[in-house]
Amino acid sequence: MRTTLIAMRLAIRNLRRHKRRTTLTVTGLTLGLIVMIVAYAMLDGLTDQGLDSFVLYETAHLRGYPPGYLDDDIYRSLDRLFDNADSLSQSIADELGVQTTVRLNIPGQLIVGREEAFVEIVGVDPIRDRDVFATLDKISDGEGFGAVEGMLIGRKLAKDMGLAVGDRATIFARSAPGAYNSRRLPVIGILSTGNPKVDGMSVYLTLTDAQQLALVENAANELAVLSGRRKDTDRLRETLLENGSDLEWQTWEEAAGGFLFMMQFRRITFGVIVLILAMIAAVAVSNTMIMAVHERTREIGALRAMGFERSMIGHLFLFEGISIGLISGFAAIIIGGLVVLWLNNVGISIAAYDDIQTGLPISTAFYPSLHLANLVSALIFGLALTALASLAAVNRAQRGEVVRALREGQL
C-alpha cells in the first residue's frame, strides 16, 4: 500500500518535471477524447430525438392494423379496414388504461393549380389524437380543427406548394370502393413538427372528412396506443394479443428499426475511426513512456540496488502512464461536457439538408445529449489506452539487470 503511494507520488512528480512532454501528450489525448465525447453525444442526441420524433408524430408506442395491412403496398391502404374503429379503440383504452386513437391513412395527391404532390392524407380524431400524438399541438400558423372546415398541412409541403393559411387546395385520392374522389378545402393551419414526414408530405383532415373522401363509414386502418412507458410495449402487445385482439401490432421499436439500424451503423463506423485515433495516441504515449524509462535508467538501477522490487519499478511507470490517461480523461470530461452542454443549448441545425433524404426523422435541428455513460466511457477508454500503451515501457523498466543499468545506463 505504501509502496503504491510512493509510486504514485513519483509518477506525478516526474510528469510535472517534464512539463512540456506531459502537456503535449495530455493535450493530444484530451483532444481525441473530446472528439469522442462530442461525436457520441451527437449520435446519442440524434438517436434520442429521432426516436422521440417517431413516437410523437408517427408511431406512438404501439399501432394496430387490420391483418395483412403492413405487408401490403401502401396504395392498397383502403383495402383493409376495421369498421368498428371507435368502439374498438374505446374498449382497449378502458381495459388497459392506455391512451388510444384511430386514424385513417389514405395515399393521395395535393393539387394546387398546375402543381401536384403525392401526399399521405391522414384522418385524425380532433380530440383523441392529441392524447396519443403531438402533431396537432404543433400548429405554427393558423388554427386547428374546430371552428372552420379545412385541412392542416406540413410546413415544408406548404412552402413547396406555395400554400398559406386561407388558400384552397384540392386533395385527390382513390376511394375504398375504387373510384377516384376529390375535395377542395382551405388550409386552416400549418404544422411545424420538425418531423420530415409530417412537415414534408402530410395532409391532415378530421377523421370524418377523411372518411367522406374515402367513401367509408366509421372505418379506420390504424389504431395507435400510448402507454405509460415506452419500454413496456412488448408486454402490452402480448396482453393485447391474449385479450383476443385480431389486429396486427407494431411497436415503435419495430417501426423505427431502419433508423435504429442506421444509427447503430454510424456508431460502428465512428468506433472504427476512434480506434484508429486511439492507435495513434497509443503510439505517442508508448513513445513518451519508453523515453521516460530510457532517461531514468540509472535511477532505476539505484532504486533496485536500494531494494525496490522489480514490480515496484513497473508500477512506477505504469502509474505514470495511467496518470496521463487520468488527467486527459478528466480534462476531456470537463471540456467535452461543456462543449456538449453548449451544443445542447444552441442545437445543431440540419435545416440546410431539408431537401435531401437524410433518412433522419428530424429535419430542423438536433441537440447532442449528455449521457453520463458517454463521459465515463471516455475516461475508462483513456485509462485503458494509456495502461496498454505503457506496458512496453513497464516491461523494459522492470526486466533489466541492475548491474547493467548502473554500469552503462542501459536496460
Binding site: 516526474n14 518535471r17 539505484a302 540496488a305 536500494m306 525496490f308 515496484m312 541492475v402
Partner: protein
C-alpha cells in the same frame, strides 16, 4: 571479537559467455566496522567484486556470505530484500532521485521497509541529515545542491536504515579533492559512530590513504 560482515570465498566471475574473466578465485573477509578499499587499475574487477558482495550480481563460482546470509541460497526476490534491509550503496554519480527533496531521498529506503511509522521515519532521517551536516537543506531538490552536498545525501540515504554494510563505488570520483576527502572523513566518522563497515572501490590515492586496509587487485585477482 571479530564478526565477519562479508565473507567472499574463492569467487570467480566471467562476462560475455566466459570471454572476459572479471574475477579469478577471489577471497576476502570484511569485519564489522571495517574501512577498506579495493584498489587497482581500471578493469581489474573492483566494481565486479563490489556488485557481487552487494547481491546485485551472481558469481560463476565460489560463495559469498553477507550479514550471515549465503547469497547463493537466495533467489532474486530474496536478494532484493537483503539489499533493502542490510546493504547501503553509494555511487559515483550520486544517483539521487531528482524529483524528490533531500529529505525524501534520505527517507526513501525507510519507505520500502515494513513496520516503520511515519514518526520514526521522520526522526531517523532528521537525525541522519544532522549527522551528515545537511540540517536545513531537507527541502531542497538535488539540483539545488552542490556535488558534495548531493553525495552527503547519498551517504545519509545509505545509512538511514542502519545497515551493517555500505558499499561505495568511486564515491569521490565526481568530486573535487577537498570535497571528496570531506566525504571520506564523514564516512569514517559514521563508521566509528555507528559501527558500519565500509567497502570502497577506488583509485583515488587520497581515499586509499585514509582507509584501514587497501586490497590491491590486478586482472581480477587479489594481490597478496
Amino acid at each position: 571479537m571479530n564478526i565477519s560482515v562479508v565473507d567472499v570465498n574463492d569467487v570467480s566471475k566471467t562476462y560475455n559467455h566466459g570471454r572476459v574473466q572479471a574475477l579469478r578465485n577471489v577471497s576476502l573477509n570484511v569485519e564489522q566496522a571495517a574501512f577498506i578499499a579495493l584498489a587497482g587499475p581500471s578493469g581489474s574487477g573492483k566494481t565486479t567484486l563490489l556488485n557481487l558482495i552487494g547481491a546485485l550480481d551472481i558469481p560463476d563460482e565460489g560463495s559469498i556470505r553477507v550479514a550471515g546470509q549465503s547469497l547463493s541460497e537466495l533467489n532474486d526476490k530474496q536478494r532484493t530484500a537483503l539489499r533493502r534491509e542490510r546493504i547501503g550503496f553509494v555511487f559515483q554519480q550520486f544517483n539521487l532521485v531528482p524529483v524528490l527533496t533531500a529529505a525524501e531521498n534520505v527517507a526513501l529506503p525507510l519507505e520500502i521497509l515494513p513496520h516503520i511509522s511515519a514518526t520514526e521515519r521522520r526522526q531517523r532521517y532528521m537525525e541522519i541529515l544532522k549527522r551528515v551536516g545537511l540540517e536545513g537543506m531537507e527541502h531542497r531538490l538535488p539540483t539545488q545542491l552542490s556535488g558534495g552536498q548531493q553525495q552527503r545525501i547519498a551517504v545519509a540515504r545509505a545509512l538511514v536504515k542502519n545497515p551493517p554494510l555500505v558499499l561505495a563505488d568511486e564515491p569521490t570520483a565526481n568530486l573535487d579533492g577537498t570535497t571528496g576527502m570531506a566525504i571520506v572523513d564523514l564516512m569514517n566518522q559514521m563508521r566509528e559512530e555507528l559501527g558500519v563497515s565500509f567497502v570502497f572501490a577506488s583509485h583515488d590515492p587520497r581515499l586509499l590513504e585514509r582507509v584501514d586496509t587497501v586490497i590491491e587487485m590486478v586482472d581480477g585477482c587479489v594481490q597478496p
